[in-house]
């Protein structure tokens, strides 16, 4: 990330930390993005607490919806939020917003946990973490718009498609369970999920045009 951009962001943060300030529109970042930047820059505990109170219960709920049991969901939440604290300085608002970034961390933590449960895996230079792919042409505005559009599109999906989209994030074994329950081959289940994702992609592209 361009250092100038970071500098600008941080200087605007100091002025605009009050919630709902007029700078919200100016720099286009969500309240959560800005809290996350504060944690990264200043190890700000009250900012972190706000992030925790917003995201941990939603992440827990999401993990339960995609197949984790209660204790795994809590554990993955806690471990993810520790990672949020430790890695906040690597948060790059050009490539992802707070919710995408935290989702990605939780995704990695869940993989870690599944692998550890199955077999010992050496920590090969932290395979649990990777960079969210960035387009060269990216800027914050574009990223913010993308994520807003996705959030809105998801809210307006027909229930059947929404269910399929959510099931794209299920654990593998849940896909097998769906296949068993619906008497459909696993390949068919996967291909319906893929079609639902493609339909959403088309809907997003139409919004663009």
């Amino acid at each position: 990330m361009n250092l100038r951009v970071v500098a600008e962001l941080i200087s605007s943060l100091d002025m605009s930390m009050g919630s709902g300030s007029s700078n919200d529109n100016q720099n286009n970042l969500s309240e959560w993005d800005r809290l996350l930047l504060r944690v990264g820059s200043y190890r700000d505990r009250s900012a972190f607490k706000k992030l925790y109170e917003h995201f941990a219960p939603r992440l827990k709920s999401f993990l339960l919806r995609i197949g984790s049991d209660m204790s795994a969901a809590e554990e993955i939440c806690q471990e993810s939020m520790i990672m949020v604290w430790r890695r906040a300085e690597t948060f790059n608002p050009e490539s992802a917003g707070a919710s995408t970034w935290i989702f990605t961390i939780a995704r990695n933590k869940r993989i870690d946990k599944l692998r550890k449960d199955n077999r010992p895996l050496p920590d090969l230079n932290d395979p649990s973490f990777f960079q969210i792919p960035v387009d060269k042409s990216d800027d914050i505005l574009q990223r913010v718009e993308e994520e807003k559009k996705i959030k809105n599109a998801l809210k307006n999906l027909p229930p059947e498609q929404a269910k399929l989209i959510l099931s794209a994030y299920y654990e593998e074994k849940s896909h097998r369970k769906i296949a068993d329950e619906t008497n459909l081959p696993l390949g068919t289940v996967k291909s319906r999920i893929r079609l639902a994702i493609n339909r959403l992609r088309t809907q997003l592209e139409e919004l663009e045009g």
Binding site: R65, A96, A168, Y169, I197
Partner: protein, 219 residues
């Protein structure tokens, strides 16, 4: 497998990647693929954004009593040197995409090739993974892999050069998928060495007469 079917299987692979349900070997293959293919990188980005939105749209469920305090205790008591332990990989092997460099040491990469045919070498990549096996293949320009079928699905990623088989031509960053029982005979393009990462659910079964002999050697 034809291009259209391959395309849909790659899409499914990307979805499984975003949801975190791939075994390590395939996860690294997909990461390598997206580091070489901007269109798939955009798909992954969108899938992660959808995941983030689904997460944030979920109705909150309270964490158990005292969770935040326990978390802060852990953070305060934790080792401070964790960042240092996560230093960058010092592997400049530019023949391999970055995600793969964690798993193939720069020192052993040139030495580990094992000749298994004319203009054809392989080396095993150790993902410590119980799922299938991962190998790097190096094919000299114009040389081929003997006709073989697959006992278990195989996903291949071209890392350098290119090859052509019965189903199409593949260049750097392209994925080719062979389903169980599919037979193909890839030939490297004439203009350079071809390096492929292949992740297989089960052992490859070579089908030609030479191949049958090779079966005994590569097991």
């Amino acid at each position: 497998m034809n291009k259209q079917n391959t395309l849909t299987l790659v899409e499914s692979l990307l979805i499984d990647y975003a949801s975190g349900s791939l075994p390590l070997a395939l996860e690294v293959l997909v990461e390598s693929h997206i580091s070489m293919n901007p269109s798939s990188a955009r798909s992954i980005r969108m899938l992660l954004q959808i995941g983030g939105a689904l997460m944030e749209n979920s109705d909150p469920i309270s964490m158990s009593e005292g969770s935040f305090e326990r978390l802060m205790d852990e953070i305060d008591g934790g080792q401070q040197d964790e960042e240092i332990a996560k230093s960058d990989v010092s592997n400049d092997n530019d023949k391999l995409p970055l995600p793969l460099r964690n798993f193939v040491s720069e020192a052993t990469f040139p030495k580990n090739w094992r000749r298994i045919g004319i203009g054809l070498s392989e080396q095993t990549v150790d993902f410590g993974d119980e799922f299938g096996n991962a190998k790097l293949y190096r094919i000299a320009p114009g040389c081929g892999v003997p006709s073989h079928s697959h006992d278990g699905n195989e996903v291949s990623l071209v890392l350098a050069g290119g090859f052509t088989d019965e189903y199409g031509s593949y260049g750097p960053g392209d994925i080719s998928i062979q389903e169980t029982g599919a037979v193909h005979k890839p030939v490297a393009d004439a203009d350079g060495e071809c390096i492929v990462l292949a992740v297989n659910e089960g052992p490859i079964v070579l089908t030609g007469p030479v191949g049958r002999l090779l079966n005994m050697l590569i097991k």
